[in-house]
């Protein structure tokens, strides 16, 4: 049994269908990347796992269905999410943003906070700063930190490098690897930057117009034309 199994998932925003029979499997402790161009449905896939869209099909984590549970139950079931637009609380301090993430994992606060500060020392230095005044890189750190405060066993990270300077991208990559290696989290990222995805992930899924076009290990897909087609068209 895989850690996460998404089977024949169709997702809808109102009447518009954004995903068409998408199936994705993730093994425990794996880092996989969903790659594809803008509008391919990457964010929708992660939103759907979090219970934020209307779906048909099935999503199972450790054999237990997540469909219809609602976001709060999915989070307390062990899924953390760092969305593309961060969705931080702009007029709250860094520390309070992190503490909101602890809403369902209150007994782990001290341990999780220490882990977050170890991964991102800047968040401890700037713990009283409002997130509305922070740079994109810092906000990404708060977003990842908030997700870690939920004590996730599965971490979903949407476009972790979008709009960030190369140096910050490397910091984020190091942190994500530590989250897997040291904390044992299974990680699903989405990426427009295929190079970043290939340096971080073990396997890739190529998504195009809401359909899985290709899947495989990084080595299998490195020279696959379907990967370039998904980005640049035919």
């Amino acid at each position: 049994m895989n850690f996460l199994e998404v089977n024949n998932l169709c997702a809808f925003y109102g009447k518009a269908q954004a995903l068409h029979n998408v199936s994705v499997d993730v093994k425990a402790g794996e880092i996989i990347a969903i790659v594809g161009a803008n509008g391919a449905g990457k964010s929708t896939l992660l939103d759907s796992i979090m219970g934020l869209t209307t779906v048909t099909g099935d999503i199972r984590m450790e054999g237990k269905s997540l469909v219809g549970l609602g976001s709060a139950a999915i989070v307390s079931g062990g899924v953390g999410y760092a969305p593309e637009r961060f969705n931080l609380f702009p007029y709250m301090s860094v520390q309070d943003n992190l503490l909101v993430g602890a809403f369902t994992a209150r007994s782990d606060i001290e341990r999780n906070l220490a882990t977050v500060h170890q991964l991102f020392p800047r968040l401890e230095e700037r713990k009283n700063q409002e997130t509305s005044t922070q740079s994109g890189g810092e906000r990404q750190m708060v977003s990842l930190g908030r997700a870690l405060m939920t004590s996730p066993r599965l971490l979903l990270v949407d476009e972790p490098t979008i709009g960030l300077a190369p140096k910050v991208c490397s910091e984020i990559a190091v942190a994500l690897r530590k989250m897997r290696d040291d904390l044992g989290a299974t990680i699903v990222i989405t990426e427009q930057n295929a190079n970043f995805a290939m340096t971080l992930a073990e396997r890739l899924y190529v998504l195009e117009s809401g359909v899985v076009k290709a899947q495989g290990t990084v080595d299998e897909l490195r020279n696959d034309t379907r990967l370039t087609e998904a980005y640049f068209g035919h």
Partner: protein, 282 residues
């Protein structure tokens, strides 16, 4: 000196009146035009329990808060949630609900005003100004409630979750907070605060079926003039409104009570529609 003391005391009460309204506006993004009805309900419940039946005043006050809380919860479940997303429909329905509740009060108690006896009778001197114990008690209670609320919102998990929902609902949901439960809680809290404020307000003015209108205007003024949903902002703007009223009544004419508040609402809407402080927080 009388004006300053009176202004300070009245402003404290106004801050309590506006607080429940501000909470709903901030967390639920709803302009709850039936908010004044909580004050109406609170005033009449207290009148029935403590003045008519003679039950101790503190119990009357607590029961008024409980009934206000229940009305708030019911309003959210039966009206606001089903109409979620349609702000105009919610605002029209809540306004109609206030008028219906007013009719209910007229049916049960008649349409004449009633005097609510002071919660604490007597008069004292504060810095040379004469002040009723009743208003003094109302102000101290208001401040105590607001300070408690401030720390609740800042320092507890539920309070932080309320702030989170007010700023980014999706962000709150993916942090494990259920925005629906937080909204429900906030509506109940708002009802309890409104009903408590209603007891103090009615004992300061009088009990009448139309007593929900003036507090609603004060609350709308605080949200529009402040442009924010914060507790500190509510306190500041409540003092602007409170002092304006005291000055209007004592310097110009008592008949103009409330008029300047309404003019202030219009002025801010025209000149600075985002409000004086212009940002949303709790």
């Amino acid at each position: 000196m009388q004006i300053i003391i009176q202004g300070l005391l009245l402003s404290g009460l106004y801050a309590l009146i506006a607080m429940g309204f501000t909470l709903i506006f901030s967390v639920g993004r709803v302009l709850n035009l039936a908010y004044g009805a909580y004050l109406l309900i609170g005033g009449y419940v207290y009148f029935t329990i403590s003045q008519t039946l003679g039950v101790p005043k503190l119990i009357g006050l607590l029961l008024a808060a409980v009934v206000g809380c229940l009305v708030g919860l019911l309003k959210y479940r039966l009206l606001v949630k089903p109409l979620k997303g349609d702000h105009v429909a919610v605002e029209i329905s809540t306004l109609i609900l206030a008028v219906v509740l007013q009719a209910g009060v007229v049916f049960l108690y008649g349409d004449s005003s009633k005097i609510l006896l002071p919660i604490v009778p007597g008069v004292t001197q504060v810095a040379g100004a004469s002040v009723t114990y009743n208003l003094l008690t109302a102000t101290i209670a208001s401040w105590a409630i607001l300070i408690g609320l401030y720390f609740f919102v800042r320092k507890t998990h539920v309070g932080r979750a309320m702030q989170a929902v007010s700023m980014d609902t999706k962000g709150a949901a993916i942090s494990g907070v259920d925005p629906d439960k937080i909204n429900m809680f906030t509506w109940g809290l708002s009802g309890a605060l409104g009903a408590t404020a209603g007891v103090f307000f009615a004992s300061y003015t009088q009990l009448s079926p139309s007593m929900w209108v003036a507090p609603l205007i004060i609350s709308v003024a605080v949200v529009i003039v402040g442009g924010i949903g914060s507790i500190i902002g509510t306190l500041i703007v409540a003092h602007i409104v409170g002092f304006m009223e005291v000055l209007a009544v004592s310097v110009i004419a008592p008949e103009l009570r409330g008029v300047f508040t309404m003019l202030l609402i219009i002025g801010v809407l025209v000149i600075r529609p985002q409000g004086l402080f212009g940002r949303e927080e709790l």
